[in-house]
Symmetry: C2
Subunit: 688 residues, 2 copies
């Protein structure tokens, strides 16, 4: 549990600090000293009286009371050391950088558990083991380089992997990205990424706290906590970008061998990020591009002006923005003509605004002024300006630098001349700016930021359903798949319209019952899970004789227990479903039925509870959405009812969290109604 | 037309060369001098006797005979100057860097045409105007920086945009990419990208010529020439990567305003690249990543070993490789156990091979040896090795450097520590290697390279079709859409199986004719182009009475001219089609019909002629391919017949290039047959 002793320690002891700065303990001490830690600092090292000029004690028993202990000693010595510190030295914060714990063998796991118990017993905070440490405004508690200067406007970085944190910082600093607090959670024996976010959320000060939060995760150990605090922080003004590595089967295997990460499906992780408002990233480059965008003013619309002296970059960027759903709207009219009069002949202002290889700093200033003040159809600008090596671009970057500060619309600078304008770029970065070396990489990241929604509201109005009835059915049902009558009961209580059906295991009874039915009907086998695969769904049954024949065929299918008869509905096949992954809220799925899920995997997924707005966006995000709207002379399905069914499903799982799997497939949709034809519910009576 | 005087001039004159190296003419001269040009060099500048130490003539009339003239004077002076050079000074190569020609106004266009005529009249070569120039082994004819040293193993770069060429070189050099010949074609008044490739192809020496060719294009001015020479060069051992910017509507508008580029559809450009074996890229970063991959040994299989001391990078890379269709196969068995014994406890060899933060150079060498010699399920290695700042990684990079040279399997080095290991990375690059700063960016580019096929063989066996009959129909047909009987004739002559149908505009005749037909039938309106949209397709007509009623309904539809009756076939809807873009071979399209093309745009496109293998890959690349194989209890369609129909369509357009648009939609496919139900052909009697 993160505490003040971890973040703002008055005293630090480095246990295993040495004079050899190539060793973790030595390097850690060096960084703390060089970082200008203002509190009491001491070392435990039995071989020295002074280490790097700092007083060293032979044993931990001899040190004075200390807030924070950093352990760089072999794993086997850690439990006893921690015990002494926790119980004898009033130490409340511990960073263990040593490896050889839970990521190693059984013995290591035991040490890790023992240590966690001790730390918990004094209400302390434990970071690691097997991590690179912590950087805060007050001390530089890492044994790695680079150690970025603490920048209150920089990014907070929380990483499950130490080396990845280092590589992210290195790549970021090269672009001008600055950092504030850095936490490497390592094995996260006690303190997880989510715990750190909880602390940040509970103590958040929007005036002084770093606003940009970058996460590198290989596991989501507490999805609900992550969702809660990330969303809360974003609502308070923070901005989040995160990598959840291990999104594929192969990556997941790699993650398991790396940190013993627990696999969550990528779909569910994306749904969580979506709900929280976290920008989903897949690479260090992407994460840092998004971080760089966060550093600039907020992108409030999708209309981008591309301002450049180099047409090719503008073309590639326009392509990329357009692929990502952003716009490069044409600029025309009197103001455009007026702007053109300030530029050299041959310049184009139609957007991209190309002011030619000979374009000047003054012209850039005027163009930006026009985009800021005159062109109302522009929400943001990307300036691509390099150097062909002929003249100095310092004055251009000076204009850019001023405009970045004073303009309300965000301006994103692409400075591609990493060799010709190396010096000018460095001087631009020293002013606190970040640059984007590649226009297309920026274009992709802009779309990712723009397409990530605001975090969902806490208060989501769900349709009213008959919770009492649902609870009665669930409470009296056995684990596993619900019976047909239980399923029907749940559907009715949740207000999900369904087809009325007859189920019989006796041919005679069935034929009696359908005496008054309107043909054609559909007959389905009851029993096998995958009815279609088992050839267990027969359509277009026109009369009683055919029904009799069909009964005989269906009842012979493996695991058949009965046969069901339903009126044959015509319309668009739809699908909704529920998936439950441990620790996550229920994932609600929707899609078009049939080939759309089975062949094309065209499914939208969001975490429950789902607002009307969110359900609408789910439906509209489907590749096959045009069919719901009506396409190819077909009428489509009632979107409002589909949205309501998705919300009812969400209300249902909120009332009955025991539902761990549910499929309503198909629902048949017309312009006027959507009717569930088949449903399956599986429950598990555990507490999440 | 590229010639020896352009590539290996014995003498160069810089017209407009000045002492001011901030001016293009001055900078151009400076670069030629600094580049160590060994031939005769002079300047034309009326104000000086010597310019940068080089003899200067007052007028062009005074200079001696000169192979290559570089013009850096105002556009209006160029025509007369070129005339004097071409007719009086035996000059055969011209580079005009000045702007103000075709990209500007009408007058500029006229000058450009005049100059081209003069150059053509002496069989000369003209590069530009409006370009940054040319770099060859013999001279550095550019006015921009950086001027990369000529590296015979470097990349040839041909760019339609000068600034983009500069930015590509800058970004490339920072990664260690080296360059050989650089051509900036500017307005390409005479010499196009394709002309340069033609020269390279006709004079190719695989022993001495640069093998990697990078292109930046905003227009494909001669698609067939590009295809021919790129494919030919690739067959001889060259490797191609290219950006064709302007792939979206917005990008295309940007390109048009930049260089007056002619838009080709992205689908057709991709089909061309595919046929030629060119790796399609969308950004400078991608282009350079692919170039860097080309620099290493050839990737011959999809199984990648990830070797690292930093697990996080390995997880992200495994994700990306897997998304791109590559594999990170598990490594196990006795050899894996043996390898493990050489590594520190806690290391993993299962792939990713993670040899921990403490992993050494020796261990890296052993791991690579095992991957090279023992693990047969590994085709290539990616080594991700950075530095946490504790120790020097020079010895690690030395081992890597040696292995890169001696191993047969390709090794791709990801060196993420751009700050901590800056010096070591620089020393690694100085050995001639290229590094990849981001593992995911590499992973994407690897998949792009792996998924680009070899160029298509020249000799493609197409099915035999009745060319004489086809020619007769086409030659006697009018332009525009063919009549129903012409269409049917073409289909039969091409051997594309079709449904037999009755077309009548009189209800009585129709009812007479269908007297002997098997019901149910389908009835369709004849006339409107989009029959489904017009509600002009009626299924399931069960008897003559219904047919009579339906006739009345259909004939009332706008632009209806008749009604067609066909047997109602059951099966999977398929689609094939033809599209023709100016200058390109015909694009052949295939897909599943119905929603797959109209809603999902699930279409495969390749350029004719199409081999059996290519047609098979087209079919298998469809998202809905599973349905052709048979899914959801449905039988699917005969893939071999579908492939043959695609090839027959290809044979048809080879015989009848006048076909500029053709749709066969739907074809109905079963396991035994595929039958065309509706077809439409449009012809244009022009010569391409």
């Amino acid at each position: 549990m993160v505490n003040t002793q971890l973040l703002q320690p008055q005293s630090i002891v480095v246990i295993g600090g040495s004079n050899d700065t190539k060793k973790p303990g030595g390097n850690m001490l060096k960084n703390i000293i060089a970082g200008g830690f203002k509190g009491e600092l001491c070392v435990v090292n039995p071989k020295e009286e002074k280490v790097q000029g700092i007083k060293s004690f032979a044993t931990v028993e001899e040190i004075p009371d200390t807030d924070l202990a950093i352990l760089a000693i072999a794993a086997k010595y850690c439990p006893a050391t921690i015990k002494t510190l926790a119980t004898g030295k009033n130490t409340k914060a511990f960073i263990i950088i040593s490896a050889g714990f839970g990521e190693g063998d059984e013995q290591g796991k035991l040490w890790e558990e023992e240590i966690t118990k001790i730390v918990n017993s004094v209400n302390g905070c434990l970071i690691g083991p097997n991590c690179i440490g912590v950087i805060t405004e007050y001390y530089k508690g890492v044994f790695t380089a680079p150690v970025p200067p603490f920048s209150p406007k920089g990014c907070d970085l929380i990483s499950g992997s130490g080396a990845t944190a280092v590589f992210i910082m290195e790549a970021g600093m090269a672009l001008g990205v600055s950092f504030a607090n850095v936490f490497s959670t390592g094995n996260a024996a006690q303190t997880t990424v989510e715990d750190i976010l909880e602390y940040m959320d509970n103590h958040f000060n929007p005036e002084t706290d770093p606003l940009v939060k970058l996460l590198y995760l290989e596991t989501v150990s507490n999805p609900k906590k992550l969702l809660k605090h990330a969303a809360s922080l974003i609502k308070k003004g923070a901005k989040f970008a995160a990598i959840k590595a291990g999104s594929t089967a192969e990556g997941s295997r790699a993650a398991t061998s790396h940190t013993g990460a627990i696999a969550s499906s990528d779909m569910t992780v994306r749904a969580l990020f979506h709900k929280a408002g976290i920008v989903y990233c897949s690479s260090r480059e992407q994460l840092l591009s998004v971080a760089a965008i966060f550093n600039y003013k907020k992108l409030k619309g999708k209309n981008i002006a591309i301002i450049t002296h180099a047409g090719g970059s503008a073309v590639m960027l326009a392509d990329q923005l357009s692929k990502g759903g952003l716009k490069v709207p044409e600029i025309s009219g009197a103001d455009a003509e007026k702007l053109k009069s300030f530029l050299y002949p041959g310049s184009s202002v139609a957007n991209p605004i190309d002011f030619l290889a000979t374009g000047t700093a003054e012209q850039l200033g005027i163009i930006i002024d026009y985009c800021e003040h005159k062109f109302n159809n522009i929400d943001a600008m990307v300036v691509v300006f390099g150097s062909a090596g002929l003249f100095d671009v310092e004055n251009v970057y000076n204009v850019l630098s001023v405009k970045l500060e004073i303009c309300d619309k965000p301006i994103f600078p692409v400075l591609p001349s990493v060799i010709n304008a190396q010096r000018e770029i460095q001087s631009f970065l020293k002013k606190g700016h970040i640059h984007f070396p590649d226009e297309v990489v920026l274009g992709k990241a802009l779309a990712q930021v723009y397409n990530t929604p605001e975090p969902q509201s806490h208060k989501i109005a769900l349709p009213e359903i008959d919770v009492e009835k649902i609870r009665n059915i669930i409470d009296s049902a056995s684990e596993g798949y619900l019976t047909t009558s239980e399923t029907v009961g749940i559907m009715d209580a949740a207000g999900i319209p369904r087809v009325h059906e007859i189920v019989e295991n006796s041919k005679e009874k069935l034929l009696d019952t359908i005496e008054t039915t309107d043909f054609p009907v559909v007959m389905k086998v009851v029993g096998p899970l995958h009815k279609s695969d088992a050839q267990g769904v027969i359509l277009n049954i026109a009369n009683k004789d055919e029904a009799a024949e069909t009964f005989d065929t269906l009842i012979k299918i493996d695991s058949a227990t009965a046969v069901m008869v339903q009126p044959q509905l015509a319309g668009l096949e739809l699908f909704v479903g529920v998936m439950k992954e441990p620790g996550f809220n229920h994932t609600i799925l929707c899609g078009l039925g049939g080939i759309f899920i089975e062949v094309l995997n065209d499914v939208a997924a969001r975490l429950s509870p789902i607002s009307k707005n969110e359900a609408t966006k789910m439906v509209q995000s489907l590749r096959g959405y045009k069919l719901i709207q009506g396409a190819r002379g077909q009428k489509g399905a009632n979107e409002a009812i589909f949205v309501e069914i998705i919300q009812r499903l969400s209300a249902l799982v909120e009332a009955a969290p025991e539902i761990i799997e549910m499929d309503i497939n198909p629902l048949i949709g017309t312009q006027y109604a959507i009717t569930a034809v088949d449903a399956r519910i599986r429950i598990e009576k555990y507490k999440d």
